[in-house]
Amino acid sequence: MSLAQHIPGGARRRPALVLLGATAGLLALAGLMLGPVPIAADRVAAVLLGGGAPMERAILLDIRLPRLMLALAAGVALALSGAAMQGMLRNPLADPGLIGVTGGASLGAVSAIVLGEALAAGLPPALRPYLLPLAAFAGGAAVIAFLFALVRRAGERAVATIILAGVAVNAIAGALIGGLVYVSDDQQLRDLTFWSMGGLGAAGWPVVGVALGCAGVTLLLVLRAARALDLMQLGERAAFHAGLDVVAAHHRLALATALGVGAVTAAAGPIGFIGLVAPQLARLTTGPTHRALLPVAALYGLALVLAADLGVRLAVPPAEPPIGLATSLIGGPFFLWLLLRRRGTIHA
């Protein structure tokens, strides 16, 4: 229904989309142009159109383009997973990292790195290169399934329970990851360290392809659930009365979140705060109606990841601090500001 046209906030959607889209586009172009070897915009265009010098082609097509595509997948999937979680739990502070989904995905990924050979033996050969994303997806999905079982038991007071359970899940995942690190050999330790710092540069095309595909599914599932997410704000019983198959909608959104967070965490490591911050910024821009909020949240996520990636690449070249550092430096203070601002109105 297009009531959105008649309400405040709906009118602010288009300028926000254009502005954010342009910002993300400029950041993406900057990401392709800047680096140890600067490439001018016309040369970038030439390479993307199939021409260009061999060295520029190699730099752009093998290094900077997969990096950009991974940023696209990470920004969109994390932002929409966060929006889906916040909508489902009716709590604007929910975030895949806070409630343990990223922790579960990380545990899956670390297990794949350390126990990779043993795990790969159980997989058909065609799937073996995808062990890392598969394991991260399984870890994220397991945490989400656990949290939903908890929602069923806790009933209406589920939200506080979920967030506390997320703290516990994060602690358990952290301890198990610590255990795996303890038993890993030198090479695995090296792989682990690089992966756990998070970064868009390390992944090759196959893993980036999987992340893009999964992010695409997340995008589709979450955008199609805009009305369901609106209805969920009434509470589960009222959402059912208004015509929503609540269980099916929960399952679809949980799948979308596990897929998106799992694939992105596998490819880029744990990236914090995008899932929390992007939907919040979108809510401030467009209001709470999900049809308007979701596309804007996805663009905020993309712009934030691109900005953070550009930041870490240009801060102290040629060294590259982990991207999680930049997103946490943006997201941490924002989260604190949000908490302090909400203190007076949290029950309103």
Partner: protein
């Protein structure tokens, strides 16, 4: 018809409904009354399809609601819950139109939303977020949501039932009147209305029939004049009740609190 046939239901180990028979006819307003914990909301939840009975069956237009999808059910009946979540950020129009099926043309949907908002006296609050409205205004906004859903269901050919759980709680007398008028208007348009009410004077003014519940059972059902009798009410509520009917005037039920002995409230 919207009917419950011999339904029983246990919740958390306690039997909240016990062999309940109740039917609402199209065009009729049925008030459901009884003490707290009598099973009124559970009965309403069974009739709405949100709760499945352990025994017995529910039929909505002759169909078992468990066999209908949530969206098909939503076209047949609209429900005002006792305590809906606030959905604080939504503007009034979005909340009121939120349950209208997407296949109703937007212009028609916008018209139903405006009419429902007007019926609940909320027109001057258009565009404001629900969180900025008072408690009573929020309650009326949710009532408007149920009315819009029912009207949309009617436009799509199947909206026939309106289930209201304490629609007048937290409302001042004037707005209680607005809710009653809206319920009567829905019945006039052919809908069957079931309303859980605590105010028996209101129930007498609104309803064609009143059903009294106690401890999970229907103890009496019939026209207000018959059911709202002092002896029966005193037995059901454990509180002396006076029923007055000034010549030609409305039936009035007055609890006689001052005659209550300590410890008598709510006990059997």
């Amino acid at each position: 018809m919207l009917e419950a046939r011999g339904i029983s239901r246990r919740l958390g180990g306690a039997e909240v409904l016990c062999d309940v028979d109740l039917a609402v006819a199209p065009g009729e307003v049925l008030a459901l009354a009884g003490p707290n914990g009598a099973g009124k909301s559970s009965l309403l939840a069974c009739l709405s399809g949100a709760l499945r009975p352990d025994a017995g069956c529910v039929r909505i237009d002759g169909v078992d609601p468990a066999t209908l999808s949530a969206s098909a059910l939503a076209r047949r009946r609209a429900v005002l819950e006792q305590t809906p979540a606030m959905a604080a950020g939504f503007p009034l129009e979005v909340l009121v139109g939120i349950a209208i099926p997407a296949d109703l043309p937007p212009v028609q949907a916008a018209r139903l939303v405006a009419e429902s908002i007007a019926a609940m006296g909320l027109t001057r609050h258009r565009g404001r977020p629900i969180g900025q409205l008072s408690g009573g205004e929020r309650h009326r906004a949710h009532m408007a949501r149920a009315l819009a859903q029912l009207a949309a269901g009617r436009c799509l050919g199947s909206g026939r039932w309106l289930l209201l759980d304490e629609p007048t709680a937290s409302l001042d007398p004037a707005h209680q009147g607005a809710v009653l008028r809206a319920a009567r208007a829905a019945a006039h348009d052919g809908a069957g209305v079931l309303a859980v009410l605590h105010d028996l004077t209101l129930a007498a003014a609104l309803a064609d029939r009143v059903a009294l519940m106690r401890l999970g059972r229907i103890v009496a059902a019939g026209p207000p004049d018959e059911v709202l009798a002092p002896d029966l009410l005193t037995r059901v509520y454990g509180l002396p009740m006076q029923v007055m009917r000034p010549r030609g005037g409305p039936l009035t039920v007055v609890p006689r609190y001052h005659e209550t002995q300590e410890g008598e409230f709510g006990c059997s």
